[in-house]
Amino acid sequence: MSRLFLYLPLALFALLAAWFAVGLRHDPSRIPSVLIDKPLPEFSLPAIEGHDNALSSENIVGEVALVNVFASWCVPCAIEHPQLMKIAAEEDLLITGINWKERPGDGAAWLRRLGDPYNYIGDDADGRVAIDFGVTGAPETFVVGHDGRIRYKQVGPITEQIWTEDIKPVVDQLRKEAEK
């Protein structure tokens, strides 16, 4: 009997290893979105101070677009920002921003300092629209197809790697679909 006991650590470890192997396939920053493949929520937001282009769902529908939730108080947004600037410069892509829970003027000042990659920006001061999108924190980015359906959700900053490996392929695919 005691000999069998000696196999116990091995058995426990085998379980653990199997569980790690499965766990590895899970991305820790992934939060399952209920919105994937669902139509974009309908909304209409005012422009932020110092900007003319307000954002409503009508601006987005009919084009392949990024909807980026950002705020000047959010440190990861500052990390993400240069990448968005780069995308705006290099890609012919509609980039829209939801300026989340911001005090008047702060978002505009932040964009003056760092540059403005957005075609349209909506001011979501009370965070209502972000709730419709199921936003849990900033930054979050949604990729919307020309049919107005949300096709991809990125939680956390878009890094160069995430852009080239995860998001750009989705965008390219959606553009192909749009051309058909």
């Binding site: 196999y7 290893a17 766990g23 820790p28 108080w73 500052a78 240069p82 005090r103």
Partner: protein
């Protein structure tokens, strides 16, 4: 050119490691001495080659060679020179290179020990581990990869890592993690040879102590870094990666205690071997945790499943292999000495059961979120409340058992006598408890109780020391007896006192601290723990690779003017990251700690002030723990010709 040389050296090191894993073992089996003796040389060659490769990478960093991808990603021409050098291990690839370098250092240390078949088999196991990790570097994480054309400048090192604490934290931690590879290799060798005895214990103990000392220092430095750099005034967050370093420490502490029983009494063999395997397995799991990004953590550098899979494969081979060997061979190990429950051995078993239970609770808390995610896809985190609720009572039990454990005799002790002997410690503990309660009321009484138990634990060790040196005879006699004490006993006493000091420090910094937050403008005052700080000025200062917002405060205590100090918020433009540099005034009794937040438009700056009592005790206690380990590892002094009274009370 230099990068290619480094790469080449690493490839040759892989060959050396593979050779070391296979051929000397064949030599040992065939009784071919020359072949068997080769393992020591190959371990030394491996060290030279890896040190050379590491030197090459360091030169690439020193010269800011932006044709090397690793340098581009983690360095910047404007970075201070010392951080260019330490940037070598501030990233995944470089830190893995440091890992194998340390592995080679330990391999070489084993190679220097007395020749014998135990050494050959141990070095073979060590070589196999080295080969696996060098292959991991070469195939998935090569630091010598080039980028062509060369980049014009680098992306800078994560500013959180540009800090003196972080220069030394990872090397110490790795020295600890990797040090357990030696105990692991010895365990494998012991199982293969079917002999776990006093000789085995004496061979493995210095390495186990070295690993434990390094790990203790590494954890303490990490905790110290979190304390002053992260700007939230805390020292321990039960973050997955902190836990990853803590688990091997707990298992290693258990091992240090049980290996004494093997050495002295020839018992607990199966259990001790299992602990040796466990300590290194947990170190590997720690590496896996940080390097695979399987759990979210401030430390997880990158989510990379490919690397994770490779490390998981190494893990499965090493741990799975070792445990298979354990299952097949451990049954043949025979205990030699019998003992009564109330004995030093019995106390050490209690210690082991508690420490392993603590390891398990940390393990469960750390991996539970992953487990749930795999089963249900649900996301959750296990926070400090779980750990405090489960861990604290176990720690209290451990502290309680430490005093009688230190005074009990081997083989057959008397529990009643042990408690009577420790009675003065109980008195001191009661006094400490009352003082703590009086000074900290209405804070948690449990913390005062814990501090009292710490005094009891440390006191128990000191009482045994007093008895052994016959303290109340004459100073001369006591000194003479002290000189004759075994190093391991002195080390144990220092470490137990250190543990008590750490616990008291943890109560101070964790439970008894006070905190104030307010919005401040120039001239405003914030106070905590009797200190008052007046905001004098806020200036923008240009650093070498950052811009700093420096807030200067004048501080006074109970109306008496003291010096002024400055808290900073630094902005690193290349990485677009901000860090906080807290202002800390340290005394023996406590720290006054200020951290400045974002400017809130016209209302002023958000400033947090803490008074953290006894924080210094955490670092002093950790130092004592490490010192105790060092003293215990020192080779025993040459035994003098027998002095008459030394025979009594045969030292443990």
């Amino acid at each position: 050119m230099i990068a290619e040389l480094g790469n080449f050296a690493l490839i040759v090191a892989l060959m050396a490691a593979l050779w070391q894993a296979v051929f000397p073992l064949m030599g040992a089996v065939r009784r071919d001495r020359a072949l068997a003796a080769g393992s020591a040389n190959s371990a030394l060659a491996q060290l030279a080659l890896i040190a050379f490769a590491f030197g090459c990478l360091t030169i690439a960093y020193a010269q800011s060679d932006f044709s090397v991808a690793n340098v581009v990603q983690n360095s910047h021409s404007a970075k201070p020179f010392v951080y260019k050098l330490t940037g070598v291990w501030g990233n995944h690839e470089g830190s893995m290179l440091l890992w194998v370098l340390i592995l080679a250092v330990f391999g070489a240390a084993v190679a220097m020990t007395r020749a014998g078949s135990l050494k050959v088999v141990t070095l073979a196991a060590q070589g196999a581990i080295a080969a696996a990790f060098i292959a991991f570097i070469l195939f998935t994480s090569n630091p010598f990869e080039r980028v062509l054309p060369a980049a014009s400048d680098g992306m800078d090192l994560n500013p959180l890592l540009q800090d003196p604490g972080l220069i030394i934290h990872p090397p110490f931690l790795y020295l600890g993690y990797v040090g357990y590879s030696v105990t692991f290799a010895y365990a494998i060798a012991g199982l293969i040879r079917g002999r776990i005895d006093a000789e085995w214990a004496r061979a493995v103990r210095p390495f186990a102590l070295a690993a434990w000392v390094f790990l203790t220092i590494g954890i303490a430095i990490g905790s110290w870094w979190a304390y002053y750099e992260l700007g939230w005034g805390g020292f321990w967050a039960w973050d997955p990666v902190e836990n990853a370093s803590f688990m091997p420490w707990l298992a290693g502490t258990a091992f240090l205690h049980s290996v004494r029983v093997v050495e002295k009494r020839g018992a607990l063999k199966v259990w001790t071997v299992l602990l040796a395997i466990l300590a290194f397995s947990l170190s590997l799991v720690g590496t896996f945790l940080v390097r695979s990004g399987i759990l979210t953590s401030v430390h997880a550098f990158a989510v990379d499943p490919e690397r994770g899979m490779f490390i998981l494969a190494i893990l499965a081979l090493a741990i799975g292999g070792a445990l298979t060997l354990f299952a097949l061979r451990a049954g043949a190990l025979r205990a030699e000495g019998a003992f009564q429950p109330a004995s030093r051995e019995g106390a050490l078993i209690v210690n082991n059961v508690l420490l392993v239970t603590m390891t398990a609770t940390v393990f469960i808390g750390t991996f539970y979120p992953l487990f749930i995610d795999v089963l249900t896809g649900e996301r959750l985190t296990v926070g400090a409340p779980y750990f405090n609720a489960v861990f604290a009572p176990l720690t209290l039990l451990l502290l309680f058992a430490m005093a009688p454990g230190a005074v009990l005799a081997w083989k057959k002790g008397r529990l009643g006598a042990a408690f009577r002997q420790a009675a003065p410690a109980a008195g001191a503990a009661a006094v400490a408890m009352i003082i703590a309660l009086w000074m900290t009321w209405p804070k948690s009484a449990a913390a005062a109780f814990a501090a009292g138990l710490a005094v009891w634990a440390g006191g128990g060790a000191l009482i045994e020391l007093a008895r052994r040196v016959d303290l109340f005879s004459s100073p001369k006699r006591s000194l003479a007896r002290f000189a004759g004490l075994p190093r391991s006993f002195i080390g144990m006493t220092i470490a137990h006192v250190g543990m008590a000091v750490v616990i008291i420090g943890a109560m101070g910094a964790g439970v008894w601290r006070t905190e104030t937050v307010r919005l401040m403008n120039i001239g405003d005052v914030i106070s905590a723990g009797g200190y008052e700080a007046t905001l004098k000025s806020v200036d923008e200062v240009q650093g070498p690779n950052f811009i700093s917002e420096t807030a200067t405060f004048d501080i006074s205590r109970n109306g008496r003017q003291l010096d002024s100090f400055a808290a900073e918020r630094r902005y690193y433009p290349v990485r677009q990251m901000q860090t906080t540099e807290a202002a800390i005034r340290t005394t023996f009794f406590g720290d006054f700690y200020l951290s400045v937040g974002e400017r809130q438009t016209e209302a002023g700056w958000a400033v947090k002030a803490w008074y953290n009592p006894l924080v210094l005790w955490l670092w002093l206690g950790s130092g004592l723990l490490a010192l105790g380990g060092v003293v215990a590892a020192l080779p025993a002094a040459q035994r003098k010709p027998v002095q008459s009274p030394a025979a009594e009370g045969a030292p443990a």
